[in-house]
């Protein structure tokens, strides 16, 4: 596909008719379109997307030029159109999308449905139109859309009509697997495989198997039912397996993301640990302060009285000592106890006091030593109590001092911890909650394990069902060949399976080849733009990553913005390069290797088809050093390069591209208007 020209009429900023003819010269294959901001550079990419795919980011009413729109009188009609003329597989295609606008009596603009028209001209023949699709309501342009999609699939168009400001998003684009397969012609083989796949109920092979019949042979019929049931189950489990694999991929991606987040937030985590420790310390110190206060109160209330009364007590003791009234009476004995002994007439030693006067006198003497007759004993008791209070009171000041010092220290410590907590809380305020991420990580791990376990179980079911189907089909085949009809069907099944195997092996081989070719192409281009040790890898969903060798291991690397742009440019250029190469078959001689789509001389036959690369603001995210490198590569990887950019970016690329420029244009705002621009040819 090479674009010859685009005609833009009353579309967005372009009032009236504007034609851009693109360079089709193989030597000077670059077309440059320069313009200032808001002059309509991006509109050119949008015009392509609108014309080819009816796809724009604005509302349909906004397609019509605003000045044209305003100048419309009531009950009048205006139209806008974009026509793209392109060359593809030796045919010249004329693709035009037109939209009409009607201003009604209440001055409201009504837009009609955009109408597509596709015509083509063989190099030797006259003009032909792609016919309208019949009987498909609202889809008159079905065949035309298909024609356009065959030339350039819509899903891949973003890579060929590229908005440079979005180059960083390239890895986040949807799955391009199907689009790449379509571009490489692998979708044909894939469809054929589906139609013949013996494991699918609706396949030709399965339908033929259903035709096998040996009358009332119950074993045969039972086996047939079992095979049908097993196939249905197998299909279900295969679908389930695909979903589980996608789920596992999701959880694995999530695991990597969470792990990266945890690594990035190691410092926050350390601070959160400090905060937790401080909170715990504050609780402990607060508890200690409460204990200190209780002890202080207790010590004060029990010992303070003695301490403050100490001078009085000392004076009292001195007075008692000076009174020399030390009691000689029996400690704890009372005068009433002696009276009791005298009344009963028996001493505690057993002596009869009524008969023994000497003993009685002795007892009476003891009574005379006790209060109230003698105060010495009471004073002795008082003395003991005072001495105890004195002993206790002597340690009071140091106990109270110790209690207070400890309390004070704990209060200071509490203040210090509180300040620390405020400080750390301020630092981690609004920061990510690492504990939550860790919790998410653990939950994710549990889900991942669950899904992997389920995958193992489902894979086991699939394997056992496949074995069951193969075994039962062997038995069916053995029974079926008994009749002539079944013999023919059996043979048809054998052919069907043989063709299926051939498609499958061809598909596997070619897909591997496509991926390998893309990988080589992308890395080859990358090496020309970047001189270092990094390489690009492509995964099964055609997403790209940069890796570098660390020892014997390949490691994904962090990318600078410039390097990321170079990587993404390499991928786009690699895709364009790959799109030129298509597998084809020849139906000539039989090849030695029947598992390969046959080409001349037994090789995978290759034809080349050029593709354009239309880039809007391609260098807006690229540093000056890499602009030069990229500019050198672009004309070499694509047969046609269209660059739509600002003058300042062109200045950097000019040195590398100037001698490759075949056509050059300048977009100019008319009267400095944002809604009226013209395109002036410079070269």
């Amino acid at each position: 596909m090479i674009i010859k020209s685009i005609t833009i009429n009353n579309f967005r900023q372009y009032k009236g008719n504007h034609v851009i003819e693109f360079s089709t010269d193989s030597e000077k294959n670059v077309t440059v379109i320069l313009g200032v901001n808001t002059s309509g550079k991006t509109t050119i990419i949008q015009a392509f997307n609108w014309c080819l795919y009816n796809n724009t980011s604005f509302k349909s009413q906004e397609v019509l030029n605003l000045e044209v729109c305003k100048s419309m009188s009531v009950c009048s009609t205006q139209e806008c159109f974009v026509e793209v003329i392109l060359l593809h597989e030796q045919k010249e295609y004329f693709i035009r999308r037109t939209q009409s606008f009607y201003k009604n009596e209440s001055k409201k603009i009504k837009a009609s449905k955009p109408e597509l028209n596709v015509q083509f001209k063989e190099t030797t023949g006259g003009m032909q139109s792609i016919p309208k699709a019949r009987g498909v309501e609202g889809e008159y342009d079905l065949h035309m859309k298909e024609t356009i999609n065959k030339i350039l699939p819509e899903s891949l168009s973003d890579y060929f009509f590229f908005d440079g400001e979005r180059i960083a998003d390239i890895n986040n684009k949807g799955d391009v697997v199907d689009a790449v397969r379509g571009l490489m012609g692998l979708d044909v083989i894939s469809t054929a495989m589906d139609r013949l796949d013996p494991s699918k109920v609706a396949s030709v092979t399965s339908k033929l198997s259903k035709e096998l019949d040996v009358g009332n042979d119950t074993k045969f019929n039972k086996l047939k039912v079992e095979v049908e049931n097993a196939k249905e189950k197998l299909e279900g489990y295969k679908n389930r397996k695909v979903i589980i694999k996608e789920e596992i991929e999701f959880f694995e991606r999530r695991k990597i993301e969470l792990n990266e987040l945890l690594l990035k937030n190691r410092e926050v985590k350390a601070n959160q640990t400090i905060k937790t420790n401080l909170e715990r310390d504050i609780n402990v110190v607060t508890g200690n302060i409460i204990k200190n206060e209780n002890r202080l109160i207790n010590d004060f209330s029990t010992k303070s009285m003695g301490y403050f009364a100490l001078p009085l007590i000392k004076k009292a003791l001195k007075t008692i000592d000076e009174a020399k009234q030390d009691g000689e009476g029996i400690p704890g004995m009372r005068a009433s106890s002696i009276d009791h002994i005298l009344n009963r007439g028996n001493c505690i030693c057993g002596c009869d006091l009524t008969k023994n006067e000497g003993a009685k006198e002795k007892v009476l003497h003891e009574k005379s030593l006790l209060p109230p007759q003698h105060m010495g004993t009471i004073l002795r008791e008082y003395k003991k109590t005072y001495q105890r209070i004195e002993r206790e009171a002597e340690g009071f000041d140091s106990v109270i001092k110790d209690d207070y010092v400890e309390l004070r220290e704990n209060k200071l410590l509490l203040e210090e911890k509180k300040e620390g907590l405020i400080d750390i809380s301020k630092r981690i305020k609004n920061m990510i909650d690492v504990a939550k991420i860790e919790d998410d990580y653990q939950k994710n791990e549990i889900e991942l394990r669950k899904k992997r376990d389920i995958l193992l179980v489902v894979t086991g079911y699939i394997s056992s069902l496949e074995t069951e189907i193969v075994n039962n089909e062997k038995q069916i085949a053995g029974i079926a060949v008994v009749s002539e009809k079944n013999r023919k069907i059996t043979k048809s099944i054998a052919y069907s399976k043989a063709v299926y195997q051939w498609f499958k092996q061809s598909y596997d081989k070619q897909e591997a080849e496509v991926k390998n070719r893309l990988l080589k192409s992308v890395n080859n281009i990358f090496e020309q733009m970047y001189h270092g040790t990094r390489k690009i890898t492509i995964n099964e969903k055609y997403q790209i990553n940069l890796i570098t060798m660390v020892g014997d291991e390949e490691m994904e690397t962090e990318e600078s913005k410039g390097l990321e742009s170079v990587k993404n440019f390499s991928f786009i250029a690699g895709l364009v390069d790959m799109a030129r190469i298509k597998a084809r078959t020849t139906t000539g001689k039989e090849n030695e290797d029947p598992n390969v789509i046959i080409g001349v001389d037994g090789e995978l036959a290759i034809t080349t088809e050029p593709y354009p690369l239309v880039m809007d603001a391609p260098f807006s995210n690229v540093d000056e050093i890499h602009i030069n490198n990229i500019a050198k590569i672009l004309p070499a990887v694509s047969e046609q390069v269209v660059l739509i950019l600002m003058n300042k970016d062109w200045e950097f690329a000019k040195a590398s591209l100037d001698d490759k420029v075949g056509c050059a244009y300048m977009i100019e705002k008319n009267n400095n208007s944002d809604v009226n621009s013209s395109i002036r040819r410079l070269l």
Binding site: L142, H143, E146, K150, G185, D187, V188, I189, T191, A192, R195, L196, A202, S203, V204, K207, L208, V470, E473, K474, I476, A477, G478, A480, V481, K488, T490, K491, S492, I493, A494, Y495, S496, K497, A498, V499, Q501, W502, F503, T585, T587, E590, P594, I597, I598
Partner: protein, 57 residues
């Protein structure tokens, strides 16, 4: 007799090659034109296979 064991080895290789090419070309053509529905394509391929099996006799 076991069907799986004889499989491709007892098929006529020239007929098989021709069948492969016919089916591939048919799929390729329909991929471009979309003239035939899925069911029509399945029937057509089945017909091609049955004819190939007959030609093998």
């Amino acid at each position: 007799m076991n069907f799986e064991e004889k499989d491709e080895t007892y098929l006529n290789q020239t007929v098989l090659f021709s069948l492969k090419m016919r089916i591939y070309e048919l799929e390729k053509e329909n991929n471009k034109t979309k003239k035939l529905t899925n069911n029509q394509m399945t029937d057509k391929i089945r017909h091609l296979i049955e004819r190939a099996a007959e030609n093998d006799n």
